[in-house]
């Protein structure tokens, strides 16, 4: 090692990194087979390794601190949110005077100051605002998000960076490992995803609990729970009465809006003999609030940081590959090998096939994309190529196109020019890429062979 490199290591806030050095400069009986102890590993972490943290919330704050204290210096962190009072019970890099400021910027400023030499960089924007070139620069991405859609988008982005050799084998140099953490109350999970090699977010969509929804008829006709009353005001009464005018959307963060919903929900509750409609419950339903506490976040973020450290240094084998942590009854953890889906939309290098009957309508395809465990899309836009020209079959995201293509949903797909073996291109908020899906008509059905 040259003296210049040694200097850069020691410069890092004059810390000597004695603790980490012991792990990185000594060999042990349980080391990764490829591990060769050397001072250069610490030098790599400090001078070369680039890590991206996605989310500067409960997990992100912890991750930034953890990684900075593990020797990482070039850490980027992206978050579009600003600081709120309700963050302060766990997002420990923020103070009351920071409320309203950018989370990523505040977090970076604090850590760079506390640990001089740390060169964290903030990106105050949505993950969708950053392009392939941005994501490609990182060695490792670690993700602490509360949104499943954003997680899926990020997963899709890392999968789209994968390159394949001529023999269809994976080009290992295009793999950017993703460490993903999530918490809900006293429970959490940490997992490691090696894109194209181990199970990705889309492979394991069934691990996410289904979203709790209330049937509209219950809300409207047979309310029984306080939640039903709040949902009624949110879904039906707000749009009917428009208390702040037709252009004002219900905002769960606006105390006056919450107070209005609370009052109306209480009226409805009293009318039906339902009790316990409170402010806290009302806000919880309106904002779909997930409970969160500092301790669970700290533990999950730390488990993720340990995996990032192992990835960057090879000092130890990584977890394989999904850990669940439950801190409600004692502290219990379970690590298992989540398996890849051979036909995964995001990470398999194969064409997706959608089986359906030949007399199906476009609505059938749309519903399958939303409901099938393999897709679970939010509002897929469907296009196809006919005679070399793009044709939009249905797209809900742009109002004018939605209106123009709405009638297509009722039409049979064969009327729209689709056939057995035809390919449709699907875009959705859950993925940065357009997904190609091949249609396969079910042969057991008497096929109306128009082609």
């Amino acid at each position: 090692m040259s003296s210049g490199e040694t200097q850069s290591v020691n410069d890092y806030q004059q810390r000597k990194w004695q603790h980490i050095r012991k792990l990185l400069e000594r060999s042990g009986p349980f080391c990764h087979p490829d591990f060769e102890p050397s001072p250069e590993i610490l030098d790599f972490i400090m001078s070369c390794c680039k890590v991206l943290i996605v989310g500067a919330g409960g997990l992100g704050c912890e991750l930034l601190k953890d990684l900075a204290l593990m020797g990482f210096r070039t850490i980027h962190i992206v978050d579009m949110d600003t600081i709120e009072l309700s963050n302060l019970n766990r997002q420990f890099l923020f103070r009351k005077t920071d409320i309203g400021l950018s989370k990523s910027k505040c977090a970076v400023e604090f850590v760079n100051k506390r640990i001089p030499g740390c060169k964290a960089v903030a990106h105050h924007c949505a993950i969708q605002d950053l392009d392939e070139g941005f994501y490609r620069q990182f060695h490792i991405v670690v993700c602490g998000l509360d949104s499943i859609v954003a997680r899926r988008w990020l997963n899709g982005m890392l999968m789209s960076l994968l390159q394949y050799n001529d023999d269809r084998s994976l080009d290992q140099s295009s793999v950017i490992p993703l460490v993903d953490g999530g918490t809900e109350g006293f429970k959490g999970n940490a997992r490691l995803i090696l894109p194209g090699m181990s199970a990705c977010i889309e492979c394991t969509l069934d691990l996410y609990p289904p979203q709790k929804t209330f049937p509209l008829c219950t809300i409207a006709n047979t309310p029984r729970l306080p939640e039903h009353c709040v949902e009624y005001v949110k879904v039906i009464q707000w749009a009917k009465e428009n208390p702040w005018g037709a252009t004002t959307q219900l905002d769960g963060d606006d105390p006056q809006h919450v107070a209005w919903v609370l009052e109306k929900a209480q009226e409805r509750a009293i009318k039906h003999g339902i009790t316990n409609v409170t402010y806290r419950l009302t806000q919880g339903v309106l904002k779909n609030i997930i409970p969160a506490v500092a301790s669970t976040n700290a533990a999950i973020a730390a488990a993720c940081a340990t995996e990032v450290f192992k990835l960057a240094t090879s000092c130890c084998t990584n977890m394989n590959n999904y850990m669940v942590l439950n801190m409600a009854d004692g502290v219990y953890s379970y690590t298992f090998n989540a398996e890849r889906r051979p036909d995964c939309v995001a990470c398999s290098n194969t064409t997706r096939v959608l089986e359906l009957e030949s007399n199906a309508t476009l609505q059938t395809i749309y519903d399958k994309l939303c409901e099938d465990q393999a897709y679970l899309m939010k509002s897929p836009g469907i296009t196809t190529v006919i005679n070399g020209r793009n044709k939009t079959l249905y797209m809900a995201s742009v109002k004018s196109i939605e209106e123009r293509t709405r009638d297509n949903l009722k039409k049979k797909i064969t009327e729209l020019g689709l056939f057995n073996g035809a390919e449709i291109l699907v875009a959705d908020v859950t993925t940065p890429n357009t997904i190609t899906i091949k249609l396969k008509f079910d042969e057991n059905i008497d096929v109306d062979m128009t082609r």
Partner: protein, 535 residues
């Protein structure tokens, strides 16, 4: 624009700040936390990470005991020390940076070694809700744990070395009323309906209901009617076997209305009734663990120092033996089910009213006991809370950490059982203990300077520990070697993981909600495994 909302029952600032955690332990849990006083001994990275996650949610106060001067190595892995902290007292520096996290928390720094406090001012520890310590010597561990055991102050001892960590909770006796189980018991009493429930259920005649009402009666009514019909041919019995349950299902199927073509109409409430056959037919019973509680000597031999928990357990026994006819007070919770608002609310109110009556009886019994014992009164709210959770009451009776250091005791036998077919997590425990023994003998961590030379010395410690608990030595030195490789290093992310866990357990103890680890937890960051042992 003028506000369309005349009254704005906005939450106060504190409720907003703590909103996300209040949904987990409630305002009463928060109040308990704000009355809590945590003592931390040694502000290393593990210690400050623990205090961080206790200060953030708003504990009342923290006291940090640490006489050491901040060294360069301390700053390496500790976020709550700055480079400028070097040379200052570690307790004061860590406290200063930790209190920034939450101005509502009070803090004190005590610049004395714990041994000195133990000899000169042992009363010092009396005022704490929980004492948390790490990096203690073998002797201090034994002295302190015994002292806190005698004072009946909860104690958490933790360790973080390399990829390994442990936390050991010492609780003499810890009663939890709100355990927050994942799946709460349902208590519907269909086998032994109380009067108002029986009256309500008997009022229905499923066949005479109009179609709309037919699709809107709660499944509880359907199931009850099916059982009644079944009992005509099976008098004085209750459907228990798979065959009998299937007979109930057939009866429910027969209840379902048919359309003009004889096709059954899809009625969600009847579907729910069919599904409930599996779960809701369990006869009402008194759980064994609750029986043990109410007949334990703490509940039967009350005195004026008895805790409110035992007084309530005694009152509960009185209720069960008399008015309750062998059953717990009614839970009074009706799960959501397809039903019209009217039917559901009516049924819900029947359960709630009975639960309130049961709780009232228990409360009167509590008042009688309190009057007899001349002890402090217990509020009606507390008794109601207790009655609401009698199905899931939980008691931990722990052991003193010092017993782990006694030869030939039950703990030694327990540990050796796990080492026969070596449970690697128990091996980690032995290694953490051996490293502590090494430190007492050599005044440094094993492998502190260079790993290979210390392997033999550490092996002597391991062998001694193993022979003390009548175990043969480990066949291989790999774990000993690994511990020497660590050289006493404190890896930040390992301490941060454990710090989150320890803070979490301390909060459970202070709020008396959720079950804490009982009582030894081991973490291996290299394999991402955890294990719990009960010493």
């Amino acid at each position: 624009m003028a506000s369309p909302s005349p009254k704005s029952p906005e939450q106060n600032e504190k409720s907003k700040q703590y909103d996300r955690q209040l949904r987990l332990w409630g305002d009463h849990g928060q109040a308990a936390l704000e009355n809590g006083h945590i003592c931390l001994i040694n502000a290393n990275a593990l210690g400050t990470e623990i205090i961080k996650s206790i200060v953030l949610p708003g504990v009342g106060s923290v006291t940090i005991v640490d006489e050491k001067i901040v060294s360069e190595e301390d700053i390496d892995s500790n976020f709550f020390l700055e480079y400028s902290s070097k040379g200052s007292n570690r307790a004061s520096e860590a406290l200063r940076l930790l209190l920034e996290l939450n101005p509502a928390v009070q803090g004190h720094a005590v610049q004395e070694p714990p041994d000195q406090i133990l000899t000169e001012n042992p009363e010092f520890f009396k005022s704490f809700s929980v004492v948390i310590a790490s990096s203690l010597s073998e002797k201090t561990i034994q002295d302190l744990s015994q002292h806190l055991w005698d004072l009946n102050i909860p104690f958490i001892l933790c360790r973080s070395v390399g990829f390994l960590g442990s936390l050991r909770i010492q609780l003499k006796e810890h009663a939890i009323i709100e355990t927050h189980p994942d799946n709460e018991q349902v208590d519907l009493r269909l086998d032994v309906p109380f009067q108002s429930l029986a009256d309500y259920l008997n009022r229905f005649d499923i066949d005479s209901l109009d179609l709309k009402d037919h699709g809107h009666i709660p499944w509880i009514v359907i199931l009850y009617k099916a059982i009644q019909k079944w009992q005509i041919t099976n008098p004085n019995s209750w459907p228990m076997s798979r065959k009998e349950k299937n007979e109930i299902r057939v009866i429910i199927q027969e209840f379902i209305r048919k359309d003009e073509n004889g096709i059954p109409i899809n009625e969600e409430n009847f579907e729910e009734a069919l599904r409930a056959v599996n779960t809701a037919l369990l006869p009402t019973f008194l759980p064994v663990k609750i029986q043990e509680l109410i007949y334990s000597s703490s509940a039967t031999n009350l005195n004026k120092d008895s805790s409110p928990f035992w007084i309530m357990c005694s009152a509960l026994r009185g209720f069960i033996e008399a008015e309750g006819k062998g059953k717990l007070p009614l839970l009074g919770v009706l799960p959501d089910m397809t039903a019209s608002t009217e039917h559901y609310i009516k049924l819900q109110n029947i359960y709630r009213a009975q639960a309130a009556m049961d709780a009232e009886i228990v409360y009167r019994k509590v008042q009688q006991i309190v009057a007899q014992l001349h002890c402090e009164s217990i509020s009606e709210t507390d008794v109601k809370l207790f009655c609401r959770h009698t199905h899931d009451l939980y008691l931990i009776k722990g052991s003193c950490i010092a017993t782990e250091y006694q030869l030939g005791g039950p703990v030694a036998a327990y540990i050796s059982r796990y080492l026969e077919e070596p449970d690697v997590m128990m091996v980690h425990y032995i290694l953490l203990r051996a490293a502590e023994m090494f430190r007492s003998e050599h005044y440094r961590a094993p492998g502190d300077w260079e790993p290979e030379g210390d392997i033999t010395k550490l092996k002597i410690c391991v062998t001694k520990l193993l022979s003390d608990i009548s175990c043969s030595p480990f066949p291989k030195d790999d774990h000993i070697h690994e511990m020497c490789r660590y050289g006493g290093a404190e890896i930040h992310s390992v301490s941060a993981f454990l710090g989150g866990c320890v803070a979490h357990e301390a909060i459970k103890i202070v709020t008396k909600q959720y079950k804490p680890v009982n009582n030894m937890f081991i973490y291996d960051g290299s394999s991402t495994n955890t294990a719990t042992f009960t010493f």
